[in-house]
Amino acid sequence: MSQIVFEGVSKRFGETVAVDRFDLHIHDGEFMVLLGPSGCGKTTALRLVAGLETATEGTLRIGDRDVTGVEAKDRDIAMVFQSYALYPHMTVSGNIESPLVARRMHVDGELRKLTKAERQQRVVEAARVLGLDELLGRKPAALSGGQRQRVALARAIVSRPAAFLMDEPLSNLDAKLRAQTRLELVDLHQRLSTTFVYVTHDQVEAMTMATRMAVVVGGRLQQVGTPKEVYERPANLFVARFIGSPPMNTLAGIVEVRDGEPWVRVGEGVLRLGPIAAAEGRSVVVGVRPEHLQPSADGVAGEVRAVEWLGHERHLVCDVAGERVTVREPTVGDDPMSGRPVRLAADPAHLHLFDPDSGERLG
């Protein structure tokens, strides 16, 4: 049971900076998801925790131990790889047992290798937890994708680590299996009460599984918070556009002050803003989620380009002041026709303002 702390950790590969000054505190027992687009450095960060890469700068702690220079096998962590990394020539039982063969474990206060009997017992336990009892004699080639994934998980839990590291473990599963496995993983987390560090580019996974998430783009931490926090108050444009499906709409605009109240002008229309300290004439980017935009009598002007009908709701894809805007609304009444002009507005509480240059949130 342990917390994981990144202190100013950077990782460079030659000229490329994969991880840029990470300061992240992962609490003991939480399910922390590192979310970000491909190549953003989240996997590298995970590998740094695992010890498969060494930090170029900074300190890494697991528990209260400084593990920056410690070898992977001595860090008391377990990892589930994207491709599962099962040894193809060993049986399920052999695969599950493998972390116990060469590593020394903490047993009854001492650090030693396990006996054959102890190893076997742990293997049986782990197999039972993941429902693999019947499959112990099989080889990975004879297993389905879901079964292989469970073997990878069993291999991880068998060493009773302080933390579990997972690198996009669901990406090789089909959609249905993915949804089911998400629930199983959350359940596993609750049963084991161990720290989980989970890497993914899929924000649905992040939102549904994380106790907290860290959005990573370009090797830098953009925002750390609960899914709710990240969704409702994105710290910058990256995060705003990355979280949410369909993604948040972002429009360029200029602040206007009318009767002491702040408004933002987008094209020909204006939107009323919530209380915000922004000077008249300031350029901003205003963000609003598709579900918060509604057709209304006033607001910004646009034209419906396409309607995507999804049964329970429909998406209106519109052009507003030259930018693409998506509106989610319940399927009430006839579908609007494409080509039809429309005015859209939103409650000021649901409008986010960002600086156009830095992307940072304003207010």
Binding site: L52, K73, A78, S83, A85, P99, A102
Partner: protein, 278 residues
């Protein structure tokens, strides 16, 4: 519809006929040699060289053994082949491991140098190597017969191809599992690439057993002759004893033929690893 079926059947039959004809052509030299090996040469010639044995001498095989001391020659070949195959396997696996999984200065250069040896076959390096071997007193000996072949770049290449195919994740998992280099080599790398390594062993066996030029250069005493160079003297006999030479040739091919039939899969895999994409 029936017409199509008939035509399909006719085409099939045509193919079988063609394939059988081609097989006859391919097998003819060996079959004819077998026929002649079993025949008494003089009678066989007199009968006008028929495609069946004439005046069969069943004891030609044992005569080949006693006359040509095949037993000793086969033993020498076997010993030399064993040493070469085992050493090539060891050196190739170790070197391939280094080139695939280790990081060290000059790695690319060294690999290029290793591969460059492929351009230096024994036919080119014959004269100096014979000098070296002679100066060490290794003529007519196992060390002399095997020394230049204890390592081969082809093996390093082949095994490295196999090792390269091991997914990165598997190496990471092994590292997390606490396996050092030796552990990883023994428990993961070699078992996973076993098919390719087996193929290399088959190819190494074939080329060691079939070698001619080098043994011919370093063997001057008959008792150290390998079976292949033994065939030369055995085949230089008169027509009346020609069947012995032929029998010896066939005997020499038996081990390889056995390996081919039993391990064809491995052989094919090894030969095509470098040649075929996909």
């Amino acid at each position: 519809m029936a017409a199509e079926v008939v035509q399909a059947r006719t085409t099939k039959v045509a193919w079988y006929v063609l394939l059988t004809a081609l097989s006859v052509v391919v097998l003819a030299p060996v079959c004819l040699t077998l026929v002649r090996a079993l025949s008494t040469p003089a009678s066989y010639v007199r009968e006008g060289l028929p495609p069946w044995p004439v005046d069969v001498q069943w004891d030609v095989w044992s005569r080949a053994f006693t006359d040509g001391e095949l037993g000793r020659k086969l033993l020498v070949s076997a010993l030399v082949t064993l040493v070469i195959v085992v050493c090539q396997l060891l050196t190739a696996v170790l070197a391939a491991y280094a080139f695939t999984f280790l990081d060290f200065p000059l790695r690319r250069t060294l690999f290029a140098l290793f591969m460059a040896t492929l351009m230096l076959p024994i036919e080119v390096t014959l004269i100096p190597n014979v000098q070296t071997v002679r100066s060490w007193g290794w003529l007519n000996s196992v060390p002399g017969l095997t020394a230049p072949f204890l390592a081969t770049a082809f093996g390093v290449f082949l095994v490295r191809q196999g090792f390269l195919g091991i997914p990165r994740d598997l190496r990471d998992a092994a590292q997390l599992d606490g396996f050092g280099h030796l552990g990883f080599l023994r428990r993961v790398a070699v078992p996973v690439t076993r098919p390719l390594i087996a193929s290399f062993a088959v190819i190494a066996f074939l080329s060691a057993w079939n070698q001619y030029t080098w043994p011919r250069a370093v063997v001057t005493e008959e008792r150290w002759e390998t079976i292949q160079i033994g065939l030369r003297s055995l085949s230089a006999r008169t027509v009346d004893e020609s069947n012995i030479g032929m029998a010896a040739a066939l005997i020499a091919a038996v081990p390889v033929l056995t390996v081919l039939v039993l391990l064809q899969r491995h052989l094919v895999r090894g030969l095509t690893a470098g040649a075929v994409k996909g």
